[in-house]
């Protein structure tokens, strides 16, 4: 009967097994517990969301952009007072199709999820409440811009050049954020991509927007002055490339100011060749058109090819017609804002502050300076150039009474779309408060439509 010691050893082995089991338990229930609770596979998260009262989203003046309201006896819904006008920025909070826009990127704050999972207060409070998010948007201006844009496709971006706060960001066509779940199939079937935020995620051919670069570089580097004159005879050979101007017979003798205002291609091409691709690339970089932009909602990079890497023909084409250049309206607006701000580029931002349910401010975004695009006197000169473009030039439709507007406008051909009409500028010209960029798809062969819309926006914001 000597198997008993074996029994004992067997028992010890099995009991050790129980000890071993403590390891995975500790792992799952202590070490990675929070990760499991937050896992996307975890359906309990949905149930937990229902238990929290989501915070609201406000504009800069306290107007409601998104809030949760009771629906029926025991349900809740998310309502969007501005509806389509601010849909791309504010985003949506749909049961089936998830979240987008500010509703997505500020979700943690709106649900105050971080504190919810750990706070003991959860036991005692009647209902957990998320934090409120205050945006930089101006609801009235946003609405006005949306109405002005109407049934056309395109985008409007308005920024305070002194701080970088985004005052208006409209994209059309738009959608009803409260009806995303119901209208999803219809939305997806539409050919005009209503969910796309054209202001941040749709790079456009900017046409002659590179004129701004050329002018900035020229003035900043001293390669030209406002009073310099050029001879334009309608067509010329610039740097070995044939360039045609419109009108056919040319502008004759034209100053830089005039060339800029009238978009004289020959003058600009001459300047561009004089400056050379390296210098222009440098200014493109300074304007931030090469880097990865940051914003509280998703943005796409603009695509600007290296001018030093292209042949002469492409170089001229890029400078004059924006070939190989694609800019988002936000990038364009930021450029205008940099010039408006004395040559200092500010980081655009949407979220002004986050406050808890008691009104206590938890987070406040300070304006952030990104760099200098040109010297302040160059900026002033450019401002003057742009003012005359509005007074007498291609951007004249942007003018409004009482306030001097500075800006440039034009059109750019895009295959399959047509001729886009665009404008970028700021007002008041002498001490700018608003910088605006407008792009209208298929908006006619000139910048008129865009300029006119911009005028309407300036009107709404500066009165």
């Amino acid at each position: 009967m000597d198997f008993r010691p074996n029994v004992r050893k067997l028992a010890i082995a099995l009991l050790c097994g129980f000890l071993v089991l403590l390891a995975p338990l500790t792992y799952w229930q202590v070490l990675v517990a929070t990760r499991l609770q937050a896992s996307s596979y975890n359906e309990r998260a949905k149930a937990r969301r229902k238990a929290i009262r989501r915070g609201s989203i406000f504009d800069r003046n306290g107007g409601v952009l998104a809030e949760t309201q009771p629906f029926g006896s025991d349900l809740e819904e998310r309502v969007y007072p501005l509806d389509e006008a601010a849909a791309h920025v504010v985003g949506y909070y749909a049961r089936v199709h998830g979240r987008d826009g500010i509703e997505r990127t500020q979700d943690d704050a709106l649900m105050a999820l971080g504190q919810y999972l750990t706070s003991p207060k959860r036991l005692f409070s009647p209902r957990w409440v998320g934090c409120d998010v205050m945006l930089t948007l101006d609801a009235e201006a946003q609405q006005a811009a949306h109405v002005e844009l109407g049934r056309r496709r395109g985008a409007v971006v308005a920024v305070d050049p002194r701080t970088g706060e985004i005052l208006v960001m409209v994209s059309a066509p738009s959608f009803h954020p409260a009806l995303v779940d119901e209208e999803w199939p219809r939305i997806r079937q539409r050919g005009d991509a209503p969910l796309l935020n054209r202001a941040t995620a749709r790079p456009y051919r900017p046409g002659g927007a590179l004129q701004l670069i050329i002018a900035t570089a020229a003035i900043d580097l001293g390669a030209a002055r406002a009073s310099d004159t050029f001879t334009c005879r309608g067509s010329a050979d610039v740097g070995g490339m044939p360039v045609d101007c419109s009108p056919r017979r040319g502008h004759g003798q034209i100053s830089l100011t005039g060339a800029f205002a009238q978009s004289c291609r020959i003058a600009l091409a001459t300047l561009a060749t004089r400056l050379g691709p390296e210098r222009l690339d440098e200014y493109i970089r300074r304007f931030g058109w090469r880097g990865a932009p940051e914003l509280e909602i998703p943005v796409r990079r603009s695509a600007v090819r290296e001018l030093t890497a292209v042949g002469r023909a492409d170089f001229v084409a890029a400078c004059l017609d924006g070939h190989g250049v694609r800019l988002t309206p936000l990038a364009m607006c930021s450029a205008a804002a940099s010039i408006a701000n004395g040559g200092v580029r500010m980081q655009p931002y949407l979220v002004r502050s986050v406050a808890d349910v008691n009104g206590r401010v938890l987070n406040q975004t300070p304006p952030r300076r990104l760099g200098r695009v040109c010297s302040s006197w160059a900026a002033a000169e450019l401002g003057a150039l742009m003012t005359s473009a509005v007074r007498r030039g291609t951007a004249r439709r942007a003018g409004i009474s009482d306030v001097e507007v500075a800006g440039i406008a034009g059109s750019a051909e895009e295959p399959d779309v047509g001729a886009n009409s665009w404008f970028l500028g700021f007002a008041p010209a002498d001490s700018p408060e608003v910088a605006v960029a407008v792009v209208i798809e298929d908006g006619g062969g000139s910048g008129e439509q865009a300029a006119k819309l911009a005028g309407g926006v300036f009107e709404a914001m500066l009165r």
Binding site: M1, D2, F3, R4, P5, N6, V7, R8, K9, L10, A11, L14, L15, G17, F18, V20, L21, L22, A23, P24, L25, T26, W28, Q29, V30, V32, A33, T34, R35, L36, Q37, S39, Y41, N42, E43, R44, A47
Partner: protein, 434 residues
Amino acid sequence: MVSVRGSRDSGAQLERALLLLGGGVVVIGFLLTSLGMGESWVRTVRIFLVPGAFLLASFALDGIHSPRERLILPMVALLCGVGICCLWLVDDWQMSKQLLWITLGAALLVGTYHVVPEPARLGRYKYLCGAIAAALIVVTMIWGRAATQDGPKLWLGFGPFSFQPAEAAKLLMSIFLAGFLAERFKAQRVAPGERSRASPSIRYMGPVILVVGLCLAMFVLQSDLGAAMLFFGLFVAMLYVGVGRLQYVLMSIALFLAGAGLAYQYSPKVASRVSIWLDPWGSGDYGAGQIRESLLCFGEGGIFGTGLGLGMVGRLPAASTDLIFAVIGEQMGMLGCTAILLLYAMLVYRSFRIAWRSEDAFSSLLATALATVLAVQTLTIIGGVTRLIPLTGITLPFVSYGGSSMATNLVAVGLLLAISRQPGGSSVPGVTDI
């Protein structure tokens, strides 16, 4: 004639005190569950059935007046009660049925205890038991019913009744193995005080290897991997106890791994189980959802648990049977899981203690087998549910829903208590009795 009447001695008092305390824990747990679920208090009355049944059993077991094991019954009662609380959250109807199984099982426990006054005599029926076990397994494999489309056929049904023969088979196989080994040991008679010379050689184990191998093959063919693990574990354990040399154990494990490797190559089910085990988050197989949800339950529980009745186990498949420990994990947290683990460990310890304190070879070996089955089953399912090892389909003793499982385990407890019906002190000199 005069017979010794056992008046209430301290062992019985301890047992009943623990049963009352355990009953209190279970009643409070059930109450909390009803509060957590928002159910009415009135239905809480049902829970008294569990401590009640075991308390009655405790009295019924004292008909025969020798000291016996006192700690196992309260622990079993508590585990059954915890199981009931968890089942309520998962499936109200199954909980009611489980109450029935527990009551019947308790009766079976008492019955076994009294019907088998001399457990040693069971050893006479070893070959019969072995044969019935093998027969049951074969019959189930051919005529049995399965729970799901291509799941293993686990049930035999007679009209409205059905049971899982694998459960009975594990008891019968324990008797067979114990009896067989005991007979082999008899060949070496040890005079008191003398140490044995040599252990039985492996050749003696021949028939055992054959029978167990057959059963294993049948389980594996069916992909009833849980039962296969259990039988294999039992076999290796008894092999070690019988032969005492570790190399045979290692050889068996090597064979097992080789077999497992083969299975992985040729059986898509096994391959699927292993891949789910290795990466439950990425795998798209059906089973991956099981282990994912299980782990999520543990994560949700954290250290203290969500509280009874507050777990959200709706998406957990097989929550009442295989994955019930995850339900415990979510509601009672790491602290609760550790407590339950400790209870199982102590249960296993006390069962083994009965084994090495038992005076005759067969009883001792039978107790060893039963303790091993309990331990292996518990370790396998908890290991699987926590992703330490691949998940297999076996029940957590006393807690999982299942009439056959509950009945078999309670009968096993009855056997253990019967074996423990000893006067104090080991009759084998030279072995310290702890």
